[in-house]
């Protein structure tokens, strides 16, 4: 059980880093703080492990563990004065008693989510296809490969997509360092943990921006009762990591906007940086989100007024810091994508048109597929019903992102003729939609339950 230390250390690093970033004057729901801390901490752990490969050209357990403890000590020292009593209102049992059952329901939902996810994860303890052919395989090379760790980039391993960024494998390696071998329990726990903090962030994030528990409970229950969500979330793929960081970045952006607090823009940038290192799709999503958010900030009157023009700098500096591993990986290590053949190399009008039709029809079929339990149709109905609210101000970032990301993905499906299009769509499109689902739920539920009177409330 020593591996549980890896999670405790990562959480504490995330917790104290958040305290240092937010400082005393910024208030935040304790639950949101907890779920952001865990994701932030795991991201930083991955980056410390990456530093071992970058500076020592191999995995050095001592370097990684010492790096964690030094960083933690530093953050505790700097952040010890950064907590406010009211941030820990959960610990206030008198308040808890007076609030009654309502206050406990979200935690019951979360506990039930944990149980459901754990049961699903146990069905396939070694995960789905991409777990052993890609993500956990990379982690094994990193953990056992010694000086030959770069073999993960070898063209012979084209089935494992050597060009993919390494955040999830590095998180797995961090757990294995404490387990002292390649224990399958670590990737399993990581998939359950990322799923749980995604559900938790949806719950607490909606409570934070609407002031009510109802939308968060509805969103979390909707996600966790979907058998398909459970299966994919616990498959040990990086898609749940993408889903978490997309949601975390968008939530921090909304909090920054509503509370006119630019420090949350720095956090938004950090989460986008982590997103860029999670998967190639995550890199594209991070680039699109970064562009949309920068433009939104630049053209908004709020930036010229209360948020201040330097808010863009806060956002971009967070983004640059957390994107460094992605930039380094792309510049120094990432091989070209071997599973790419441009449509232009053998373009015929017929092929181009056939692929276009197939993609459009498949998007439609996937969104209405029974495995989603009607969630996309309901979300679309929700968007139409709340059209005025859901496209207003900072919320415009959501549809702009979904539209641009959807178009980019569709264009890539059309452009890359390496795979047979119907097979490729059938194995990958559901995962792309899965990674957007928590953020889409957040957007629609937030639009419905937004309390306009509280818009100016400080975060």
């Amino acid at each position: 059980m020593t591996y549980s230390l890896s999670y405790i250390i990562s959480f504490l690093i995330g917790f104290f880093l958040l305290a240092v970033i937010l400082r005393r004057e910024t208030s935040m729901l304790l639950s949101t703080r907890l779920f952001l801390s865990m994701g932030l901490g795991l991201g930083i752990s991955a980056y410390i492990v990456f530093c071992s490969f970058l500076f020592l050209d191999r995995l050095d357990n001592l370097f990684v563990i010492a790096g964690h403890f030094i960083l933690l000590a530093l953050l505790v020292f700097i952040g010890r004065q950064s907590f406010r009593k009211e941030d820990f209102s959960l610990m206030n049992f008198r308040k808890l008693k007076s609030a009654g059952i309502r206050r406990v329901i979200p935690w019951i939902v979360l506990a039930a989510s944990g149980l459901t996810l754990y049961l699903h994860a146990g069905l396939y303890p070694l995960g789905g296809w991409d777990a052993w052919s890609c993500w956990n395989l990379k982690a094994k090379f990193l953990f056992l490969g010694g000086a030959d760790w770069k073999n993960i980039l070898d063209p012979a391993l084209w089935r494992s997509s050597p060009h993919y960024p390494l955040l999830l494998p590095l998180v797995n390696v961090w757990g294995w360092i404490w387990a002292q071998d390649t224990a399958p329990i670590i990737p399993l726990i990581n998939s359950v943990l990322f799923s749980l903090i995604t559900v938790g962030l949806l719950l607490s994030g909606l409570k934070m921006v609407t002031g009510r528990n109802t939308p968060g409970i509805l969103g979390a229950c909707f996600l966790i009762t979907l058998p398909f969500f459970n299966t994919l979330a616990t498959s040990q793929y990086a898609d749940i990591v993408v889903a978490y960081f997309v949601l975390a970045a968008l939530l921090c952006f909304v909090i920054a906007w509503r509370g006119e607090n630019k420090i949350f823009l720095f956090l938004t940038g950090l989460f986008l940086g982590f997103l860029s290192f999670s998967k190639s799709e995550g890199t594209i999503a991070a680039l699109i989100l970064a562009a949309i958010m920068t433009v939104t900030l630049l053209v908004s009157r709020k930036t010229k007024g209360s948020l201040g023009l330097n808010s863009v700098l806060y956002f971009l500096s967070g983004l640059l810091i957390a994107s460094l591993p992605t930039i380094i990986f792309q510049l120094l290590y990432a091989p070209p994508n071997q599973t790419f053949t441009s449509i232009f190399s053998g373009l015929t009008e017929r092929v181009g048109l056939y692929r276009l039709k197939a993609i459009a029809l498949f998007f439609l079929a996937e969104l209405t597929s029974a495995k989603w339990g009607g969630i996309w149709i309901i979300l679309l109905a929700g968007m139409i019903l709340s059209v005025k609210k859901s496209l207003r101000q900072e919320k415009i970032v959501f549809p702009a992102f979904f539209a641009l990301y959807g178009l980019t993905v569709a264009f890539y499906y059309w452009l890359n003729t390496y795979f047979e299009i119907l097979w490729w769509l059938s194995v990958s499109l559901n995962r792309i939609l899965f990674s957007l689902l928590p953020a889409a739920l957040f957007w629609i539920l937030y639009s419905f339950w937004e309390d306009n009177n509280k818009e100016g409330r400080k975060a």
């Binding site: 070694l126 030959d148 909707f222 058998p227």
Partner: protein, 144 residues
């Protein structure tokens, strides 16, 4: 349509309607989940999880620090089940890289549909069988 949307909230709150739709969907999904999950767990208890790659377990100990080995099979790797087995073998034997159909490495794994086919290929490739495991997978070394 827009007029209807404007009038509608006066009678029933849109929020309530939307909540009701979500709650109905949650109930339907939950019923499905409660039906499926215990059934899947019972099925898993009766039929324990089997990882095709386990066929190759233990061979990694003999390979020591070898970083690249050949892999030969007479099965069609473009088929799903065969591709899965190959990927799982790669996972079990990592950090060694399996090089499919390349018989020029110092070590090669022979995983054939029959022992005869394996032996024939080993002879033809001028290799010596070093170890055969209980699943019929043969590790062969190149003759000096």
């Amino acid at each position: 349509m827009m007029k209807l949307l404007k009038v509608f909230p006066r009678y029933i709150g849109l929020k309530s309607v939307f909540s009701a739709i979500i709650i109905i969907a949650i109930i339907i999904n939950a019923i499905e989940l409660f039906k499926k999950t215990p059934k899947n767990i019972a099925q898993r208890n009766n039929l324990p999880f089997y990882f095709l790659g386990m066929k190759f377990a233990g061979l990694d100990k003999i390979l020591g620090g070898v970083t690249r080995i050949g892999y030969y099979t007479d099965r069609d790797l473009s088929k799903n089940s065969e591709a899965a087995q190959f990927s799982q073998a790669q996972y079990i034997l990592a950090p060694a890289i399996l090089d499919p159909y390349n018989l020029n490495h110092a070590f090669t794994l022979f995983d054939c549909s029959s022992q005869e086919k394996c032996q024939e290929k080993i002879r033809a490739s001028n290799a010596i069988p070093l170890k055969k495991n209980q699943f019929g997978v043969i590790l062969a070394g190149k003759k000096p």
